[in-house]
């Protein structure tokens, strides 16, 4: 573990993916604006070329440019983050400013960075087609997009989102975490409302913005209460203070507020009401980012707070959030699944399925809480098992949830994906695309041998492990009553899984059985980068399901660093 001072030269190299992101942001600010502007020195007639502004050059004025810059930046950042995990010389680094620990770059935070950067990279690659830089059809909507500045706006926001999310992943101080959260959130709010020419986009964006701001404000209030109680917002100071004074009312109330703030981000019930509107109003790659990376952001906040801070080394009693979390988890998963059953808009359906998946992860967190609070005696690998499973789930969600949204994105390019009947007849029009969508749906349902089954299985394995506890250690008869109530969360998860199969299967039935809608008989738009992205997601879904061992080990070793 090395300590590095903020903004020192070693900082920039340790902070490599974020450095690349910042450079990319700078490039996106500057390069598309380069032109033949000239600056006149005052009191003279000398004009010096000052390239910033004026009529732009052919190259820098091209509409493709911002997208390519952004994709290149994100890919480099993703590559650097991933490579650092396989590099033997990687050591955990703590970034300090004086006495305060700001950021910590270790396996756990790197893994989250990989997830975030991967998701935003895939979404931006898909946006190259979804928010196209070339006109393939002269509609007013598309002519709007064909503008270098509008393109630059989009990719600026995407890079900002990525940067904010990475900050959240690395944060060691709750306030730094909040800054990163807000940075990413604000960019996301604008991304959701990006298509200001459509009504759904604006409505979704405004709803998401208002609800999100309220949730953030509540979360910030909780943080301020924590600060009042502990005197600092450093994670380790908070953890230490909790272990001595954890039973007081003030921190528990603060925790409740923080739960609301992060619960919104994770789209847990009853804070999820803005999610369906936001997902259906945003364009599909952005909705995909919301469903995968944004959820991960909320998850890491919850993990830091609930597991790291509220982890009393003293016995039970201060884990009052445990019961609340378990109830929240079951309500969330059930609500999400039942609401999805009734949806007729595929994006809303996927939004509710996101809510359900958040419920599954919250159930896992409740199990961690049971172990952490001493309800169950057990070694550190209990926590590792569950957090590792949650990490794996977040990682593979990128593959199939984002993939599902990207398929919807392809349909949007053609004319809209807001009704289930938009998917009708896809089996005939584009069999490979329909098969990919079916694979994504089956992965979401948890059908083997796909990655979705693996991740659901690992979560259940974690839940059952905590539920079973150390029962075999004594050998001989075990009593069913000795099973911790966390085991019932696993049963609830499976029952919800069975319920969810209905609406995932319905997509398959519609695609393969129903005739296409009127006016949608032609083949789908070509869009090579969005198709490549979908293929990458399909391959990842299948591969990570069949031989996902290396990712499992990566996630588990990352989780180990927490305990």
């Amino acid at each position: 573990m090395q300590t590095v001072s903020a903004f020192s030269p070693e900082f920039w190299t340790a902070f490599a993916p974020e450095t690349v992101l910042i450079l990319g942001l700078a490039a996106l600010f500057i390069i598309p604006n380069l032109g033949n502007a000239k600056l006149r020195i005052p009191l003279t007639q000398i004009r010096i070329p000052w390239f910033f502004g004026g009529t732009r050059f052919g190259l820098t004025g091209a509409a493709h440019l911002p997208g390519l810059i952004a994709v290149g930046t994100l890919f480099s950042a993703f590559f650097l983050a991933t490579w650092s995990q396989f590099d033997d010389s990687f050591t955990a680094t703590v970034v300090v400013a004086g006495d305060i620990q700001l950021l910590k770059i270790d396996a756990f935070s790197r893994l989250f960075e990989i997830i975030f950067l991967g998701a935003v990279f895939l979404a931006s690659m898909a946006s190259l087609d979804r928010v196209p830089a070339t006109i393939f059809e002269e509609t007013d909507e598309l002519v709007e997009m064909y503008d270098n500045r509008r393109q630059a706006d989009l990719y600026l926001l995407m890079l900002t989102t990525a940067l904010g999310m990475c900050l959240v992943a690395l944060a060691q101080d709750m306030f730094v975490l909040f800054i990163g959260l807000e940075l990413a959130s604000f960019a996301t709010y604008v991304l959701v409302a990006f298509h200001k020419e459509t009504k759904a986009g604006t409505e979704g964006g405004v709803k998401y913005f208002i609800v999100g701001s309220v949730a953030s404000a509540v979360g910030l209030y909780g943080l301020s209460l924590l600060y009042l109680w502990a005197g600092s917002l450093q994670l380790d100071v908070l953890a230490a203070t909790w272990s001595t004074n954890g039973g007081e009312t003030l921190p528990i109330v603060a925790l409740g507020f923080i739960l609301v703030g992060f619960g919104f981000k994770v789209s847990a019930a009853p804070f999820h009401f803005a999610a369906p509107d936001a997902y259906s109003g945003a364009n599909s790659p952005v909705a995909g980012i919301l469903a995968t990376a944004s959820k991960g952001m909320g998850m890491i906040g919850l993990i830091r707070v609930l597991v790291v801070i509220a982890s009393p080394d003293v016995g039970a009693g201060s884990a009052v959030w445990l019961i609340a979390l378990a109830v929240l988890a079951v309500v969330t998963m059930t609500w999400g699944n039942l609401a999805a059953l009734g949806s007729t808009n595929p994006k809303r359906m996927l939004a509710y399925s996101s809510v359900a998946h958040a419920g599954y992860m919250l159930a896992a967190l409740a199990a961690v809480g049971a172990w952490v609070s001493g309800d169950i005696e057990g070694p550190a690998d209990y926590g590792t098992a569950i957090i590792g499973a949650v990490l794996f789930h977040l990682a593979v969600l990128v593959a199939f949830k984002l993939g599902a949204f990207l398929v919807l994105g392809l349909l949007e390019m053609e004319g809209g994906a807001s009704r289930l009947s938009s998917l009708a007849g896809l089996g005939r029009r584009d069999p490979l695309l329909a098969t990919s969508m079916f694979i994504f749906m089956m992965a979401l349902a948890g059908v083997p041998p796909l990655a979705g089954f693996m991740s659901k299985f690992l979560i259940v394995a974690g839940l059952v492990k905590v539920g079973v506890g150390e029962m075999w250690a004594s050998g001989g008869p075990v009593s069913f009553a000795d099973l911790h109530w966390v085991w019932w969360l696993a049963l609830a998860l499976f029952i919800n899984s069975a319920i969810s199969v209905f609406y995932y299967l319905r997509i398959g039935v519609i695609m393969f059985l129903e005739p296409p809608e009127e006016g949608r008989r032609k083949p789908l738009p070509y869009g090579i980068s969005i198709r490549i992205t979908i293929w990458v997601c399909v391959v990842a879904t299948i591969l990570l399901g069949v031989s996902g061992d290396f990712l499992i080990q990566l996630c588990y070793s990352a989780a180990e660093t927490l305990f």
């Binding site: 299985f457 079973v468 008869p477 393969f512």
Partner: protein, 573 residues
């Protein structure tokens, strides 16, 4: 992503033939290379047995699904021929195994928890999953049955519409089914168990009857829901094992999914008066596991997915569904819960017997009320599966052997029944029993096969079904005495209904006969050549196993004896 629609037909055929040649060459190269073992054994044979149909099925499916409508019609012939050839390879392997041609396989030497062709490769290190395959007297007849039924199904339904995607799906289905039977690792078992749902879902969805949408979804969701409950039981069982047991235990969890390790642990613990995990936990886990298997079997009251699935499924789908998929439930029951939780089995013996009896009686009686031919056969399947449950609940070696043989015999007879129904539907466009009179006049071949299949199903001696039913009745007499009259009477009544429906359909109607209205006055034709071939082969094997049941019964008896020695007679029960 260009599609293959741009290639012309000739080059596509060349591509297919080249692909076939490549596969055969790879196999031929494989053979001598894997003599890594000093004894030159072929333990690895289970891997191509499973992997080959699946991989070729997926590749052919991907190839065919990209075609346009006309392209698919043109490519149907080479693809179905390729599928037939590819499905004959596993049949060849399993028959060779049976006749000791590849290696010397002696099933009688296997004790409890010992397997032939046992090979294990590490798959997922962190959670303790290995690719562990092996066969014993329980699974080998099922494997042979599957490899046998897939080509027969393909031949029977040679002319099915959209053959370019239909036949690869059958191949894929066969591969997944074989995978269920040979896997000796719980995780692998579950993966193949669920994998069989997807091809069957598509078969019903695309080639099914008028209500196929409902039936396909009901089938998938019902069996999936039951399977996840079973999975919960399996995961709980996994964590209730001691840490560090078994060769491939997980690096993170410390446990393994390996079935052989689990069985050995349970058997080691179950000596004398001890009860593995205690009776309470055994009962709960037993119930959890049995839910999954009972729904698959299907046992009343969880059988309601079956009539819909069967009636709406295409002929090929029904043949594989009834012939093999239902046996998956029985196989799973015999493999896992009974071996690990014998005390729970004793506790629930009467319950299982009751469920079996109710299935038998209910299935037969509801059968009496049907006018749709296929639905009638579906309910008769339910009642025959009830017989299997009776055998399991009997806790007698004879009962278990009877259950095993019923699985096997029903697996040969019911595809024939569904083949007859399918031919009926194909040529007469109706499946209502009341519609047709005097079929013997126009379709003598179909009439003969229908008589044969009906007789086999009701248990005529010298045909395979009789052996199984006789063994069950013999096994039941010592335990339940005069209660045996109930299933006996029901069997007799059902036989009467079969005979009546047969007589009406084939013989009545006077000299002119009475073709169904659905034909609109066309002259009915007899069945085609490929349907003939398929049904003759099934008929011949029904007779073979009826007259010489010991061909299969030998290894089933050995397995039953080993089971009783290893599990039941350990001094406790």
């Amino acid at each position: 992503m260009g599609s293959t629609a741009n290639m012309d037909l000739k080059s596509k055929e060349f591509a297919l033939i080249g692909f076939l040649a490549l596969i055969i060459a790879a196999l031929a190269a494989f053979f001598p290379n894997l003599g890594a073992n000093a004894e030159g054994n072929v333990d690895w044979i289970s891997i191509p047995l499973v992997g080959f149909p699946i991989i070729t099925g997926v590749i052919l499916l991907a190839f065919a699904s990209q075609e346009s409508r006309t392209g698919k019609k043109k490519i149907a012939a080479p693809i179905r021929l390729a599928c037939l050839c590819f499905s004959l390879i596993p049949l060849g392997i399993s028959t060779a195994l049976f006749f000791d041609w590849l290696i010397a396989v002696d099933w009688s030497t296997l004790g409890y928890n010992e397997y032939m062709l046992d090979s294990q490769y590490l798959w997922m290190e962190s959670i303790g999953v290995s690719w562990h395959v092996g066969m014993d007297g329980l699974s080998f007849p099922m494997v042979w049955l599957t490899t046998f039924l897939v080509p027969i199904t393909m031949i029977m339904t040679w002319d099915e519409k959209d053959g370019a995607t239909y036949h690869p799906l059958l191949l894929l289905m066969g591969g997944a089914l074989i995978g269920v039977f040979v896997s000796l690792d719980l995780f692998m078992f579950y993966i193949f168990w669920e994998l069989t749902l997807i091809p069957m879902f598509f078969l019903i969805l695309k080639w099914g009857g008028s209500d196929r949408r409902y039936a396909a979804q009901k089938f998938f969701i019902y069996t999936f829901a039951a399977s996840v409950i079973m999975l919960l039981g399996l995961v709980t069982l996994y964590f209730l094992q001691p840490e560090g047991s078994g060769p491939f235990h997980g690096t993170i969890t410390g446990r393994t999914f390996d079935m052989t390790t689990l069985f050995a642990n349970a058997a080691a613990y179950n000596l004398g008066e001890n009860v593995f995990l205690g009776l309470e936990m055994q009962k709960i886990l037993f119930v959890l596991l049995m839910i999954g298997f009972l729904v698959k079997l299907p046992a009343v009251p969880f059988h309601t997915w079956l009539p819909d699935a069967h009636v709406q499924a295409p002929t090929g789908g029904s043949m594989l569904l009834a012939g093999v998929m239902l046996k998956m439930g029985a196989y799973g029951m015999m493999r896992i819960p009974i071996a690990i939780f014998p005390d729970a089995l004793v506790y629930y013996q009467d319950v299982i017997m009751a469920i079996g009896l109710i299935s038998l009686v209910w299935g037969s009686i509801v059968c009496l009320g049907q006018t749709n031919l296929k639905k009638m056969i579906a309910y008769s399947s339910v009642s025959h599966m009830g017989i299997i449950l009776l055998g399991i609940a009997s806790m007698q070696p004879l009962g278990y052997a009877a259950a095993l043989f019923m699985m096997f015999a029903h697996g040969i007879i019911s595809p024939m029944l569904f083949a007859v129904c399918g031919a009926f539907k194909h040529h007469y466009r109706s499946m209502e029993i009341g519609d047709m009179r005097g079929m013997a006049k126009w379709s003598p071949f179909l009439s003969v096969y229908m008589m044969f299949a009906w007789m086999a199903s009701l248990g005529l001696p010298l045909l395979a079904g009789f052996v199984a039913e006789l063994m069950i009745l013999l096994a039941y007499w010592p335990i339940y005495g005069w209660w045996i009259l109930l299933p006996g009477a029901v069997l007799a009544i059902t036989a009467a209904y079969y005979l009546w429906s047969m007589q009406r359909t084939i013989f009545e109607g006077g000299d002119e006969g009475q073709p169904p209205e659905s034909l609109n006055g066309e002259t009915p034709v007899d069945i085609s050549v490929h349907e003939n071939i398929g049904m003759i082969i099934l008929a011949v094997f029904t007779v073979i196993f009826g007259i010489f049941p010991f061909i299969a019964l030998g290894m089933m008896d050995d397995w039953t004896v080993a089971l009783f020695e290893g599990v039941f007679n350990r001094g406790g029960i």
